[in-house]
Symmetry: C2
Subunit: 310 residues, 2 copies
């Protein structure tokens, strides 16, 4: 496929996800209407759908069909969206805006926002389990495995653990200095990025590969690729924030609190962060070495994620 | 079994759950230690383990083995515990005490409490999916079905929806009065109880029955039984709160805010609430009609839950 075709493929997969998301959540109950409004408000707030598109891309690259991955793609987006709602809460990052729109708790209040996050997280598993139950024997085993991969990445030893380390980072560095142990800020930033952001991106690719019936070697390649581009994605985001391109891209300028957060460009300077990003991008390419013919789309996606900073 | 034997069986199953819970959560990561401390603080705060015991009881009654249900029993307790942590938050019920101990956010702060809840909810699915992956073909299908039943009961059309309706109840009643539609408070209380409390108790029984390989008729009986005793359980709790036995039982006195909540005894008076509780208890017994020989333990559990008020 030519580059233009990859862009078309991206739009095609994104559109599939948008459509599937409309029917993915459980049926609305009138007595809890506000909950469903709140869940949909954030789910339909115009996310880039990166994780679901990567999952579908990996599923196709592994030789599967997109319909085998669609419920899981939706589940990933629900999990990602719940994490944004909870991260934005006053007791966490206290953000007023998300993707240029008021954050969930600004519109619906804190209690509803917490419940909307809970509903989306639970809904992700409900949707995957529902899809698994409808599957035939061979697909069933793959789907159970894929759901397990997503669950590990989303939970306390993945994304939730990363968010915990993130909100504690400042205190943790100050404490280690007090105790004369001087923690390496870059090592901590690395841990946070790999868990808070990287884990779910990596899981998108590996779960997609599993759903598509990929062989072990290919799954390992997807895992390595995902590890590199997951970290690269976060570094690219942080570079964009510093370069002030956030407004151009329609993203809100970060709050003061968030500006203090540990990032590669904040610790190493802009140029060194860009060098590392480029290196990670190269390593990601190399991870798929030998699989280029079926991974053109995934390589294009990685390029598109990184090149935002060029 | 004699009554004393049922009590012993209860203690035996509870002890099995306590032991299994210790190894159920994902492995602790030192960089997110506070998260795991917070999750364990609430999980090990001395809950009655009603839902897991009911699941194991139903699994055994259906002819299954307790080891087939143990991971799911732990998952139920994680889901129940996460819901308590989030319900206690300042923006929800704003409770300082739970089971006589400071609530999670009072000890760890709001942000960590929210993440601990997220970690427990996610951990429940991670644990179930891990258990499913280790299962043989026949058990695998049952386990996928059981996890789906639990997910439906826990989510937006179950427990989360019930909590949403609960925190909105006062506003919802006032609004309907303003609009001249006068909503029935008892109908609203009924909805809240069935969703917030009843759904997960009912799911414990049905999922247990599914895990034990119960036939359709028996699963239907368990579902009806669960519906009745789930509602009865909440009414019994609310009667106990009003009777002031909360302190005797070591439970904290409810906050002022919670005293205003919609309950059967608050709406109907103590005696009528007790009458309804007794009626529900009888209906629960009747639902298991024909299955008494294998459901002695479950009937004893139902009696034990209701008789707290006698």
């Amino acid at each position: 496929m030519a580059v233009r075709d990859f862009k078309e493929e991206h739009e095609r997969l994104k559109a599939l996800v948008e459509e599937a998301l409309l029917g993915f959540l459980p049926k609305e109950d009138p007595k809890a209407r506000r909950l469903f409004q709140s869940m949909r408000y954030s789910l339909e707030a115009g996310g880039k759908r990166i994780r679901p598109v990567l999952l579908l891309g990996a599923c196709l690259a592994a030789g599967g069909r997109e319909e085998d991955g669609l419920a899981f793609a939706c589940a990933l987006e629900c999990i990602h969206t719940y994490s944004l709602i909870h991260d934005d809460l006053p007791s966490m990052d206290d953000d007023d805006l998300r993707r240029g729109k008021p954050t969930n708790h600004k519109v619906f209040g804190e209690a509803t926002a917490i419940l909307a996050g809970d509903g989306l997280l639970n809904g992700a598993y409900e949707g995957m389990l529902g899809d698994i139950q409808k599957s035939r024997a061979e697909q069933l085993l793959r789907k159970v495995k894929a759901a397990g991969i997503i669950a590990r990445a989303a939970g306390a030893e993945g994304m939730v653990g990363g968010q915990m380390a993130d909100i504690q980072a400042e205190k943790s560095l100050a404490l280690s200095e007090e105790q004369g142990e001087k923690q390496d800020p870059l090592a901590l930033a690395d841990y946070i990025h790999r868990h808070k952001t990287g884990a779910l991106i990596q899981a998108s690719l590996v779960a997609g590969g599993v759903l598509g019936g990929g062989e072990e070697d290919f799954l390992k390649a997807l895992s390595d690729f995902g590890e590199k581009i997951g970290l690269a994605f976060q570094i690219a985001d942080d570079i964009l924030d510093i370069c002030g391109e956030t407004q151009i891209l329609g993203k809100p300028v970060k709050s003061d609190q968030e500006k203090d957060k540990l990032t590669y460009p904040a610790i190493l300077g802009l140029q060194e962060a860009k060098n590392i990003l480029e290196k990670l991008h190269d390593q990601g390419r190399q991870a798929l070495c030998g699989y280029e013919s079926r991974c053109g789309f995934l390589l294009w996606e990685a390029q598109a994620l990184a090149k935002r900073t060029f």
